[in-house]
Symmetry: C2
Subunit: 370 residues, 2 copies
């Protein structure tokens, strides 16, 4: 029994504890997507590597370990969350016309719209192959890509049916993860569709914004943590705890993300403070400001975000209103509260290195400057 007054983060440097997991993920990602491959595979590699933060795969690995599973058997599943994430980003860049991603040309800019759409599709579809392949996964399932001749026989493959296990994982668990990932993928799409509907609508209200965030950003956190809990063999109560952790973490993450343009300089975040304003994207602090402000401030805010002012003036006005209404402070507080609630969800799990890492991720979600 863990005494309730002992913090779950008592490991000296929890994020350093995650380093071996991160190294394993990076090594496997590189190995599964070799440089020498057909074009679609090469473009996929370009999208996946050099890797981003690999936060979602890390969450899956640590969630599985937190319930007594984890290790190499869940690596393919962990990477498959990244395939869904990156596939979705590749499509996002097509939709938004973004030419840069992670400091270099986006897939759409480098290879064109057609290849970007097809590569995103392949990553999203291939993830389910990776997931079912378990430890035997080889990326885009290219292992028997024999050229079909007139004989039509070479594409025939008989060794593929999984009957008993996927890389040592029971099929019922893997199937549960498939279901959770499919659901997350659809939720992500629902969030994207909803984001489009909210664009330019300052009056959409915080509730709809939070639903959109839970769908668009929360879905993959949820898939990672719940998927990890299922694959790791967690009890229903443990699955529930990690799912709730993921939902609060997702909100904290998105709230903090929305705050970054106002709290961090654009060279660090890689984002222009103006981009959310230019895209008429309602963000968390702005919606909070809209809800908290009196009528005069609300009119000024709407004018600033309505395209009536030059961009630099608009930003200055928004920033000033966020400060004077107290919205900036309130937004920070609410992001921190979500991170704290995420951590509190971990208290029902056995204390371990993994729960310490998960708690540290929650802290990081509201303290990072990028």
């Amino acid at each position: 029994m863990t005494p309730p007054d002992v913090a779950v983060t008592e490991v000296a440097d929890p994020l350093a504890e995650a380093a071996p997991t991160m190294e394993l993920l990076l090594r496997e990602l590189d190995r599964r997507w070799p440089r020498e491959a057909e074009r679609l595979h090469q473009i996929s590699r370009y999208a996946l590597l050099p890797a981003g933060k690999l936060l979602r795969p890390l969450l899956l690995m640590e969630s599985a370990e937190a319930v007594g599973g984890g290790g190499p058997a869940v690596v393919p599943a962990a990477l498959s969350v990244e395939y869904l994430h990156v596939g979705s980003l590749v499509h996002d860049d097509v939709i938004d016309g973004d030419t840069m991603r992670r400091g270099r040309p986006s897939v759409a800019a480098r290879y064109g719209t057609t290849d970007a759409i097809v590569t995103g599709d392949a990553l999203m579809l291939g993830m389910f192959g990776a997931l079912t392949d378990g430890a035997e996964d080889t990326g885009l399932l290219t292992e028997d890509a024999g050229l079909l001749t007139e004989d039509a026989g070479l594409l025939t493959e008989d060794a593929g049916l999984l009957t008993e296990d996927a890389g040592g994982l029971p099929p019922g668990r893997v199937l549960g993860a498939v279901r959770v990932f499919a659901r997350a993928g659809v939720d992500l799409c629902r969030g994207q569709a909803m984001e489009g509907e909210l664009r330019g609508d300052l009056g959409c209200g915080l509730d709809r914004y939070l639903t959109m965030s839970a769908l668009k950003t929360g879905a993959l956190f949820r898939a990672a943590c719940r998927g990890g809990a299922i694959l790791g063999g967690g009890s229903p109560a443990q699955q529930h705890a990690l799912t709730s952790y993921a939902e609060h973490l997702g909100l904290a993450f998105q709230m903090h993300d929305d705050l970054l343009p106002y709290t961090s300089d654009s060279r660090t975040t890689g984002k222009s403070a103006l981009s959310d304003i230019a895209a008429a994207r309602p963000t968390f602090p702005v919606l909070l400001c809209h809800a908290m402000a009196g009528a005069p401030a609300r009119v000024r805010l709407e004018a600033a975000l309505g395209g009536a002012l030059p961009a630099a003036d608009a930003l200055r006005t928004v920033h000033e209103l966020l400060e004077t209404t107290g919205a900036l402070t309130a937004a920070r507080d609410r992001a921190t509260a979500q991170a704290d609630r995420a951590k509190s969800c971990l208290e029902s799990l056995p204390r371990s290195r993994a729960t310490a890492v998960l708690a540290a991720v929650a802290d990081l979600s509201v303290s990072r400057d990028r």
Copy 2:
């Protein structure tokens, strides 16, 4: 034991035998995608209904039945092949800028590029949810789409983990189908990428064209038949037989599709005879002509397809060369030979209503005029 001289198609009207299955599929498709739903769901319904031929779902149903399974338990899996097919068509229309599909505006034309990309993604990802949900499937997994409040609790769902079965199907079989579908989805993308590479390349050769067809068109036939064989509990030999059937059927289908502009008028096929030429798409009869023709005819063919002639003149020249070189006849013969080989793959299966339907589909693949 079936006497070898008894044709598998001795059922009086095999396609009429498929009518109840088609009705079941249509009824379930309509039920699972209600009119009253959120936007993304509505757009998905627009893409799915009115339904096309539902050929791939039919193949899955009949393949399952051919090995002793089938029935309502595999309906969600059958529909999920259609989700992948339609999701891919929605993206195709974005890529090709096509404004019409099945005689009405394409999703891209009606709802715009952004919604078309997101809807295609949702269909492709949702198919795996439908597949794992078995008989309990409800389309886009929207059943617990509670609005997330500040409390972040309403998205929590605990009833989702499949442990023992999916709609009565053993998890090992469903997982096998997940794997086959994921593989098919990636193959489809590989075929699309390859199609882009072959565009305008008359010298690409028949082998590369056939590989592209096997990937782009064959993948979903293969997924449907192999997936059905797995879900129906077929033996490895039966899975192999139905997979080979699907590969030959896919080739016959694509070869015949390429012939349609030259054998059927454009009002029936819904395609302009000029569209393949305008898109510089190497097609089966044209590649065969290129391979069969002497040097002078080859030069004329290259000129006609190189954009040097007015479109109507180009078409007339191509048509004439297809006739004089014998390529049109040869292409027809080879399509028919593939359909015959497809049927011969069925001979190792117990003769049944389902095998008769599958044989009739093979016949239809090279006799249809649309």
